[in-house]
């Protein structure tokens, strides 16, 4: 029976979370945010979707710390933008209230927080843990 490294499984979870966050933003764009008068707002949703997709690909294809850092940065940036959008000034003059639109805002919030948390946990592990996991993963091949 083969054993898969914990780190590799968690990386896949980070990638899945990033993918889900990107899909939520793409859906919001297609469902109406492309109609916001300032087109920069809609484009920022598309850029989020593209960046999330790229980070998810990087996290599963390149099992190094840089790809994890990129994934964490995309998720953290999304959370930052969410916070700014809840202020009076908003993003590009566009602001929303609380966890609206529902349920997309809540789903995206939970997904991005989890992505940052899991990626941060993987990043904060010691290099020795990484090496140990890689050996386990290799032995499973």
């Amino acid at each position: 029976m083969s054993t898969v490294s914990t780190a590799r499984s968690l990386r896949t979870i980070v990638a899945l979370l990033l993918l889900l966050g990107g899909l939520v933003h793409l859906r919001l764009y297609l469902d109406g945010y492309r109609e916001v008068p300032d087109i920069r707002l809609g484009r920022s949703f598309l850029l989020n979707a593209a960046a999330s997709g790229a980070a998810a690909v990087a996290v599963v294809l390149w099992r190094n710390r840089l790809s994890l850092l990129a994934g964490a940065a995309v998720a953290a940036g999304t959370l930052g933008a969410f916070a700014v959008s809840r202020t009076d000034s908003g993003i590009f003059g566009f602001s929303e209230k609380g966890l609206q639109p529902s349920p997309e805002a809540l789903v995206a919030l939970v997904v991005e927080v989890l992505a940052v948390a899991v990626a941060a946990w993987l990043l904060l592990r010691s290099p020795a843990d990484d090496a140990s996991d890689e050996r386990v993963g290799t032995s499973a091949l």
Partner: protein, 133 residues
């Protein structure tokens, strides 16, 4: 187990690439022009009776509306995203979340200026100015 994880990784990578592709295509199809001027650009002229305000493209199409006392204003959501109509300050206007096609109406009996926003997207603002008939 490892094979299953590999399959998931491949699926994630393919979905990620698809997400990038769809986003890129939509970026290319994005509109280039600013939306057409709305009726808010027209000089204020008091309307009376039943007055309609469309909610479209994340904006109230009559952002500054002037009506006579006793008029009933009806807001109809034409966007695919939900919106609402909520007073700023006093509670004269307080709609539920309006889905596409839903409407909310309010009769203004007293003269005054009534500022309102979308309770979901606070940057969407409007004002109804009520004048004596």
């Amino acid at each position: 187990m490892l094979q299953r994880l590999r399959a998931i990784e491949v699926a994630v990578a393919l979905c990620g690439l698809a997400l990038i592709g769809v986003a890129a295509v939509n970026l290319g199809m994005g509109r280039d022009e600013a939306p057409a001027a709305t009726s808010s650009d027209a000089p204020a002229m008091a309307q009376s009776g039943a007055v309609a305000v469309a909610i479209a493209d994340f904006a109230f199409d009559a952002r500054d509306l002037t009506v006579t006392a006793g008029s009933t204003v009806t807001w109809t959501n034409q966007d695919s995203a939900p919106h609402s109509v909520v007073s700023r300050g006093v509670d004269d206007l307080s709609s539920e979340s309006l889905a596409t096609g839903d409407a909310y109406e309010h009769t203004f009996d007293q003269p005054g200026a009534f500022d309102y926003i979308c309770g979901i997207h606070n940057s969407m603002k409007g004002t109804v100015t009520v004048v004596a008939p």
